[in-house]
Symmetry: C2
Amino acid sequence: MKTIRFFCPATIANLSCGFDVLGLCLDKVGDEMIVHKTSQPGVRITKITGAELPMETENNVAGVAALSLLQQWKTDYGFDIEIHKRIKAGSGIGSSAASAAGAVFGINALLGSPFEAAELVKFAMQGEKLAGGSAHADNVAPALLGGITLIRSYNPLDIIRIESPVELYAAVIHPQIELKTSDSRSVLKQQVPLKSAIMQWGNVGGLVAGLYTSDYDLIGRSLQDHIVEPLRSVLIPGFHEVKNAAISNGALGAGISGAGPSVFALCKGKQSAEIAAAAMGVVLDQMDLPYETHVSAINPNGIKILSQE
Amino acid sequence: MKTIRFFCPATIANLSCGFDVLGLCLDKVGDEMIVHKTSQPGVRITKITGAELPMETENNVAGVAALSLLQQWKTDYGFDIEIHKRIKAGSGIGSSAASAAGAVFGINALLGSPFEAAELVKFAMQGEKLAGGSAHADNVAPALLGGITLIRSYNPLDIIRIESPVELYAAVIHPQIELKTSDSRSVLKQQVPLKSAIMQWGNVGGLVAGLYTSDYDLIGRSLQDHIVEPLRSVLIPGFHEVKNAAISNGALGAGISGAGPSVFALCKGKQSAEIAAAAMGVVLDQMDLPYETHVSAINPNGIKILSQE
């Protein structure tokens, strides 16, 4: 195999209560990447469409992730990477993660798959570090493993694939405002009240229990964030109205997707997710704020190979 | 029915990562209580054996819990309560919770069961408030509902019964030192580092996932406490040696039971729990510290009726 072309899914990190540990893989929403094996050693970003991103390997999240992998697996040949972005940068649905995860996925496949998906997460995290200043795994893990993932521990890295009910759908609305991950992180406080933290881990436990038992109501009740949402939501115009619109129109729960500005809602069934997406859109229409919406099942497989030769 | 006699189980609260939210019900270790319906209105504590505890209803955890229930369900008759303590006060395995849960369980049964177990938790929490200054539910919930329980939320109270694998056993060692719940709570800090809180909710998610999937190794990896154990363990002589003895002898994980001083270990199978209990005992033997040990399956039913007439 010399060339692999694949779909790199968007992802929703945090899922309200699970800041830095929970993430969910979307279906259909995502980038396309092509990785070619070349006789020339090293990694080159040869083409980027759909976004203005750095072409220099060391300044590109896909490039940095690729280099991180190749530090652990030396080769006398190299790789050319094409990135066709469809996930907008700074949208909060894992744009940088899709590129970082895609780069290590493609190179690993062309190397004959020496690394397992969970190991690839470590390399992809180096791309995330370049993008947001923090080597978080809650987007790259679901992109690589699919489904809903829990980062039980970062040191050592311990990633748990959480079962989720088949009827669970996500609605995402992306207000077309720019919000850098680094800005979203800067509003966080390094100390949090113990009382809020207790509520947060109660909800993480409830969400995981709800996912395993297909208890949609429990999933909804657990989608609460007492730590980060109060700080970050002020950066997102109309956040509370958008969230309330989703919930009052049948969504199980809603919150900030990753670092924002996208807002997600989880719903039982595709139709319910479509209604939630439309209801959230009405709010931004009234504010004259342009937006995109996505409705997606949970993608159980993560990155999907489109062709290889 | 005029009289009910029942077994009130001991419980392990917190389970390392789940401070104030997780609890587990023990089998065999527990008190016995008898509640009689009387023509005289009100609640009286008529007999206490096995411990020196206040006989005045308003100063007794069982009495306070009983009065809390009867505020919501007025009767023109009353109740006499006998408490035969076998769980030592201040042991950290839910001694006050057993009495509080027992009182509301017994009275509810004699009233014809107008309240569900989850509602009884609220009344029993008033007994806990008297005992420890905090109306926590992580002992009374598993005592009343059985199994492993998660308090997803205190306000509103939302209790989730978590499935657990049948081979899961607990070993508990109770060093015979006095440690008041109020003292154990006073060492807590009201602000915690966000980084530690993230680790904590990662572990809560991992523990719940491990319980649903019978993944014993994941259960063990998740039994970590980065928030409370570092502060409370200094109050327990030989804590780290006891914990390490359990784990190095095959326990999945170990930590402080409730507010301590008891230390618990979770194990796969009864034999493993017996070995862990013995190994923990060896440490305290070497320190010349008297102790009691308990080995117990998870009690799936909570309080157990022994006789009624």
